[in-house]
Amino acid sequence: MTEASSTRVGFFTDTSICIGCKACEVACKEWNGVPSALQADGGFEFLGQSYDNTGELGADSWRHVAFIEQKGPAERADGDGGFRWLMSSDVCKHCTSAACLDVCPTGSLVRTEFGTVVVQEDICNGCGYCIPACPFGVIDQRRGDGRAWKCTMCYDRLRGGLEPACATACPTKSIQFGPLDELRTRAASRVDTLRAAGVVDARLYGADPDDGVDGMSAFFLLLDDPEVYGLPPDPVVTTRDLPSMWRSAAAAAGALAVGVAAAFVGRGRR
């Protein structure tokens, strides 16, 4: 993904100002017609993971707000033994090097003109290769449907000149949408401000173009280690080693072919 980098857009999710209202989850489902998590028995599952009953990103949850109750750093001046409640709205990262797209055999997964990665639902045949390929566990097969689903960054809205539904609904601007370059600059400045104010653990996740997925279109400002939020600390595109693997495989196949050919040749001689 280099040719369209001048127009590449993304999300900067600043978890330091997230209030966990889940408006992003609801707006996403409303706009995209994502099914609710209605169970076969007509009920919903109570998870009790703090205030989170969504659980994780999946075919039917393209935004997911995590709630982490934490006996955090004692120096925080909130006066109850350093307790804090972290909230963070997770989403597809729209990786620069996207393994889901690499492995898709049908061409259903594509890179859009906005630099995002989108599943074309009318092409997906439900092979499921993309699902283990994602280093974040984002993309998922829908039960009873079989096809793969995930955040499109509201491709239809972007085409229409609108911002994605989640960013539009976010009341505190925790989810910011815009040109990726601008967002990265803004995020770096926000981290500096927070650190200067004593929030020493503030850090960006996914903003580095040199990381294992060559940077993400959706990146985050976190207040603790990524693992705390359920994010892999050092994600690597799962197809990174594929070329060398294919080279090895090709060499092995070549050697085998030579051996087989030699056997026939030998026989012919006889």
């Binding site: 100002i17 209030i19 609710s36 109570f46 205030y51 909130d78 109850d80 409640w85 009341p171």
Partner: protein
């Protein structure tokens, strides 16, 4: 605020990004606490001890904004020699009548003298000082469970951030009002803000975050039994036989209430038009009279007693949302007829089929005679109208889509119901039909459903002058019958015949006050009492907090807002001895123009039935004995002694230990109040699919409660079950040498919708604030035990057993 008002909370977050300190005081660590700079966990029901200690801290350390206090509050007023404080009478004020459980406020009055040095022993300032002298940081620790260091951090932060250069705002949600001392909570906040000079100035104030959209509007043009539009009291049978007695009782010689006759006559003209003439007292006798307490809870009790036969519910779900909701369901079952207008079939519409009492066998569907009419309502997106927010800002909303099927707006329903009833009584000569038949009921209708024009209604509310043109300001209203106005405080919202509430000029295209977006009552004033934003000489207190000031050259008040003061009244104006009327009685330095003395009231000589100063009383049900006074709870609180509303014994009474824990109820972001707008929508219902009870780890260990399992919460009224969240967000508190555990209960669930569960309001009793008849739903006592509750008839057996153990069986 983040929890229940996430959209409005964006402005708090914006202020925080600009450097504001956000302090959150709450029994539970909520979404607001998560982003606050300081969180203070407090025992539910102890706020006056906390706030009173802030008052004491200000006074003892000389942190009051002295010039503001002397000039703009009643601090200097000298009180009657007969006044006795709660400090003198062990928790009672002078004037107490134990027989009627009421106060006679005659000993609370001013003598007429003042002492601007604030040193006279009977001046309000010194009375205030003595009243709160025992409200120390140590007392806060003992009563509220807040450490003194934490308390001092908050008190100092408030003081530091107030004064000529800075202001602080206090924001509360209706949780502050839902106590037997709810009005006095707000009074204590007002005392703090007046002492610190935070009223009438930008960035200051006390902001009431209401429970729903336009609840402000529903008190302005009220759904309250005791008010007419614009806070005119409802006439009382016997007390107000005619207009002159009504006006004499309400009229003040000073301030805006001097024109009450003009407001009333214009209202009567709006309602009865040409039929209202000077000869017939402008149809004053067409107004219904009240005879006592007709509040929602009293009405429910009337149903139980058979005196109320029919009931309308507009978007209200008392079977889930009102305290002692079980009693409400039993009451609905006694009605002849019930009309429910709602978006969905709520529990209040379906109590007779699958309510909890059907399961327990207390009600039998076949025996319920109530005829229920469920009429589908249009949502706000399906109709025109206004919302009035907490800033008194009216904002017009346009219909986006036609309501589906038979859904209709409340305006449509009310208009056509009135039209049909009028047609049925047409030609009647019965005097009782005159108020109905003489009503102005001629609103233009639009569209295929004959929807009345909401704009026409707003035009009537705004009012018309003698020539039929729309009025611009309430000072143009007249008592001679030449003007009409449906709500005097809204006069001007249709000025010039233009719907001012529909203005949507973006903030980026105007100054920071943004006076051209929507319309704020009164007179598009964005900040009330803004005369106080300038010093007595009319100069801004500081450049930083400049708002309205006196322009001597122009001879008028100026600034980005509309002055809440006669525009040309000089700061050095002094009223003539006698002879003046209305605003002219007040000096150029009296900013509180609706008060008879023009001052902010630290001490309230009238208007509050449970005392001129806030005093710490324990909740009606409390595990803690009042350490300040022998008087345990508010002596004037309203209680309801009847079967189905037994009270848990409070501290010191036998059986109190049967209900050892504090219980408080609240809302979650994911749901809306009684759930009618959220439990029936999959995208919202799935986010909080089950009723929960939140407990701290210590209580969980004490009672064997396991995270994710079920618990049963019990009071003398009922028992409910909920999924357990064991969380540090509800910490145990150290209160007066013991551990106090609090159980947090969101109250959104019921028997209907996509997600169902028991209603927390089943647990709560009716103990009410005596001023406003609001229930104490934020602080009570309970027991909690692991496991699900018994089903069917075994449920009332369990609750009866608890009552027996608590010694309440004698009341059965």
């Amino acid at each position: 605020m983040a929890e229940c008002h996430p959209v409005g909370f964006q402005w708090v977050m914006e202020a925080k990004l600009r450097g504001a300190t956000v302090i959150h005081v709450d029994p539970r660590f909520s979404r607001t606490s998560a982003v606050a700079d300081v969180f203070v966990p407090i025992r539910a029901g102890s706020d006056i001890a906390f706030l009173g200690a802030v008052v004491n801290h200000i006074l003892e350390n000389g942190r009051e904004f002295r010039e503001y206090v002397v000039a703009y509050t009643n601090a200097s007023a000298i009180l009657s020699e007969d006044f006795r404080d709660t400090e003198d009478l062990d928790g009672l004020f002078s004037g107490w009548d134990p027989a009627t459980r009421t106060y006679d406020s005659s000993s609370w009055q001013y003598t007429g003298g003042t002492d601007p040095t604030l040193e006279h022993p009977r001046c309000v300032f010194q009375v205030l000082r003595r009243h709160f002298a025992r409200y120390t940081p140590e007392l806060v620790e003992e009563v509220c469970g807040v450490t003194r260091d934490r308390f001092l951090e908050v008190a100092e932060a408030l003081c530091r951030n107030s004064g000529p250069e800075r202001t602080s705002a206090l924001c509360y949600a209706v949780g502050w009002t839902q106590h037997t001392v709810g009005v006095q909570y707000i009074r204590t906040a007002a005392i703090i803000q007046l002492l610190l000079g935070n009223i009438g100035r930008p960035g200051g104030g006390i902001l009431a975050l209401r429970g729903h959209a336009s609840i402000q509007g529903s008190t302005d043009i009220p759904t309250l039994y005791d008010l007419l539009p614009g806070y005119l009291p409802m006439p009382h049978a016997g007390v107000h036989p005619d207009r002159s007695s009504y006006v004499a009782a309400r009229r003040r010689t000073v301030g805006g209430w001097a024109r009450v006759d003009a407001y009333l006559v214009s209202l009567l003209k709006a309602w009865w038009g040409d039929h209202a003439t000077a000869d017939n007292d402008f149809c004053f006798d067409h107004l219904p009279r009240i005879t006592g307490d007709h509040s929602a809870y009293q009405t429910m009790l009337g149903m139980l007693d058979g005196t109320v036969k029919g009931y309308f519910l507009f978007g209200q779900n008392p079977a889930v949302g009102s305290s002692n909701s079980r009693l409400h369901r039993l009451a609905l079952a006694k009605l002849d007829w019930l009309v429910v207008r709602d978006l969905v079939e709520t529990e209040s519409a379906g109590f007779w089929l699958d309510g909890p009492e059907i399961e327990t066998g207390e009600l039998n569907t076949a025996d319920i005679r109530t005829e229920v009419f469920l009429l589908p309502a249009a949502a706000h997106t399906e109709k025109d109208g206004t919302f009035t927010n907490t800033q008194r800002l009216l904002q017009w909303h346009h219909k986006a889509v036609e309501p589906a099927g038979d859904c209709r707006s409340d305006l449509w329903f009310t208009y056509h119901l009135g039209r049909i009833i009028r047609s049925k009584r047409a030609g009647s000569h019965d005097p009782r039909d005159r108020p109905l038949l003489e009503l102005t009921w001629d609103y233009p209708t639009e569209g295929g459903h004959d929807e009345p024009s909401a704009a026409a209604v707003l035009g009537e509310v705004n009012g018309f002058g003698a020539d039929g043109s729309p009025l611009s300001v309430s000072t143009d209203l007249s008592a001679d019958g030449s003007t009409s106005c449906g709500c005097w405080i809204y006069c001007g919202c249709f000025a010039g015949g233009v719907n001012q509430t529909a203005r949507r000029r973006p903030g980026s295209e105007q100054d920071w006050v943004a006076a051209e977006r929507g319309w704020a009552w009164p007179a598009n004033r964005r900040l009330l009492y803004n005369r106080a934003s300038a010093d007595p000489a009319g100069r801004p207190w500081s450049e930083r907090k400049k708002y309205m000031w006196w322009d001597d050259e122009a001879g008028r008040w100026t600034g980005p807002d509309v002055a809440d003061f006669p525009a040309a009244k000089r700061p050095d104006y002094r009223p003539p001895e006698g002879g003046a009327e209305s605003e002219d009685v007040l000096a150029g330095t009296d900013p509180f123009v609706m008060q008879a003395d023009g001052r902010g009231w630290l001490f309230a000589p009238t208007g509050v039935v449970d005392g001129p100063l806030p005093t710490h009383y324990e909740p009606h049900e409390s595990p803690v004995a009042n350490p300040l006074y022998a008087q345990q709870s508010n002596p004037v609180r309203n209680t309801v002694a009847r079967r189905g509303n037994r009270y848990n014994p409070t501290a010191g009474r036998p059986g109190a230990d049967v209900f050892p824990y504090v219980v408080t109820t609240y809302r979650l972001t994911e749901h809306h109040t009684a759930g009618g707008m959220s439990r029936f929508l999959a995208y919202l219902a799935e986010l909080q699919p089950a009723p929960i009870c939140e407990v701290g780890p210590e209580l969980a260990a004490e009672r064997g409660l396991v995270h994710g399992d079920w618990a049963t919460v019990v009071t003398a009224r009922s028992a409910i079950e909920a999924r357990i969240l064991v969380t540090d967000r509800l910490p145990a508190l150290q209160v007066g040498g013991r551990r106090i555990h609090q159980v947090g209960l969101p109250y959104h669930w019921g028997t209907k919708g996509l997600v169902t569960g028991d209603s927390a309001n089943d647990l709560l009793g009716l103990a009410l604030d005596p001023n406003v008849a609001i229930q104490e739903s934020k602080a009570g006592t309970c027991d909690i035990r692991p496991g699900r509750r018994p089903r069917g008839p075994a449920l009332p057996v369990l609750v009866a057993d608890y009552r027996r153990r608590a010694g309440l069986e004698a009341d059965e």
